[in-house]
Symmetry: D2
């Protein structure tokens, strides 16, 4: 099985970020379970804006998309600002939407039998849940399956260093629950893909 983790932080990959810490926790579990895990820090790639399945040929999207297409598990990691996911998270969801009418061999959406989750670095913004619900809804409407609790929120405000220890436990537990549920459903769908009755695209 394969997993792709997309970091949509606005910071370049060389800078530390809470989003990265959470993705790392999730990647650790995926690898322990022997799942082929690819991580991309999207800010370090050039991806053009647009809702289309047409390739421009001048950006890194074809490479990223190929990895997503092969993956059983896709996790989008995002920071939160003012109750919203990052613009790079939006950009990637728009690019995926370009394939909304593309079919798999059985005539369903190409994202069927893939599972999706999201990691959100709230960090005191108090808006992590609006970012989360927007990402999970869009994945779901593209054809991804959303397992229970497929959302891990990093809620610490790093300015209050002294409270991290207890809060770190909360984060770790959430990342763990999300990651294992993603694995459970990816395995389930590997052996029992979604039947075609009622969901074939025209």
């Amino acid at each position: 099985m394969k997993a792709v983790l997309l970091n949509t932080s606005l910071k370049k990959g060389t800078e530390a970020s809470e989003t990265e810490k959470m993705l790392h926790e999730s990647a650790r579990i995926l690898q322990k379970e022997r799942i082929d895990t690819n991580r991309f820090h999207l800010r370090d790639f050039q991806i053009n804006f647009g809702i289309t399945d047409r390739l421009d040929g001048d950006d890194d999207w074809p490479f990223i998309f190929e990895k997503i297409k092969e993956a059983d598990i896709v996790i989008i990691g995002t920071p939160v600002s003012m109750g919203d996911k990052s613009s790079i998270a939006s950009l990637i969801l728009e690019r995926l939407q370009g394939y909304e009418t593309i079919k798999n061999k059985k005539g369903q959406s190409i994202f069927y039998n893939k599972v999706g989750g999201t990691i959100v670095a709230g960090c005191g913004d108090e808006g992590a849940k609006s970012a989360s619900q927007s990402i999970l809804y869009r994945l779901s409407m593209l054809g991804f399956t959303i397992p229970p609790h497929a959302n891990a929120i990093f809620r610490s405000d790093w300015d209050n260093q002294d409270t991290n220890q207890t809060e770190g436990e909360f984060e770790t537990k959430n990342a763990e629950r999300m990651t294992y549920n993603l694995i459970h459903f990816a395995e389930l769908l590997k052996f029992h893909p979604i039947p075609t009755l009622g969901n074939v695209l025209e």
Copy 2:
């Protein structure tokens, strides 16, 4: 298998509503597939406000909750006003949240192995998707599985009667896709319940 359909319209059950028409379409398919289907028009019941698993003994919640607990499939139907689900949809999600820490026999959330979907009567409000994402997110965070495309939107503006015919097709197709995907996943989880690794409540 069992399904529960909850109509959260603000109108009393004796008045016609778009939400009811959509739920009817979904119920028809569920029954055709021999699934035991219960429909409740919540406005006709008395349900107290609160986030608690404590029963007051003076309302109809214990009866409704018993049906939800037995169900494999739960569908929440709501009208939309100003980009929001109905207050009765909120009320029912709060009541369900009262059981957030209650465990099934394996120690997981009692909503594990249930699947959830939503039917939203947008009717020209242009806010159906914010209502949808809020309902699906809350179900998902309670432990429900969200299959792909588990959201059917009724977008017709009934004031423009002449355009209904074509739009009716859109609605029927969406209700069908949602309902079949809910059935597929309910069956899947019936025979292959979610393993406990990583998701047991403390």
Copy 3:
């Protein structure tokens, strides 16, 4: 000038709530500025569901609505659960929407020249901003003016008692900024009501 503060907590008025603490802070400032301030704990009243300007005659809505109609400033206070405002906040916004097409003497919405704000008791839910934006948007689309920073969030997780002191400052400052901006705009609109060009209802 007059202000109405609506507490939409699910708890009865006799129980302590974070929402109440924040509303208290705001009321204190309003009263200091000699503004006639009414506070209602809505859970203690009976208000029927519905989007209508028709009065049923068997609930407390006419009394509450009369106070809102007279007010220059309206503040809705709500707890947050799973990224959402309370169902009582939804209920009250629906009741207000019942007057969407009712006109003032100049033919504008009856909510013109009123200002609106919201106090949200996040308390570690990480969803305060989705609750906030939904309330402010609905007030705004009903005709209320939304001054800058008309949103005070109570973000403390009361389980971490030791960190309250610093966080209390954050909350107080936000409640203060919101309240003063509401007062500034209420005064402005008192002396310079919104001209009718472009906004008269048909």
Copy 4:
């Protein structure tokens, strides 16, 4: 007075878009009222990602920001996809947030005394209101004033060409109401800027 209209469509400026049609309607009114009106199709500019007031020196942001800083009225126009504003709308809101702690001469946010509105091309997506509320909330939390009804939604599904005529009236009326209310408040704040009590940044 000055207005800036930002088109955040994903399409290049040479392609027709519903967002552009709506912005055009609004610009027409602004110009009729002799307001100096600047329109930018952001897709045709290079704007780097980030939440910072530091200028990179290698993109067009300084030029765009200078125009926003001078403006009394700012309107963000966006298409909707899957219940969300465009990623370019997100990007621009993030860039504005970079100035969250920058003060005007009186010590308030530099966006005080500016008014904000949004034009959303829903076009059958049924998600226009979630896009709208997110944009208005973020502008509001940055310091913009949000007049009543500062949101114009283009709800037509252009595939149903025959129904456009009646729906066009709805759109025009909404764009008009939004634009005039923005003008009324911009004028009000020109002559009566927001007092500093309670809202000075530290």
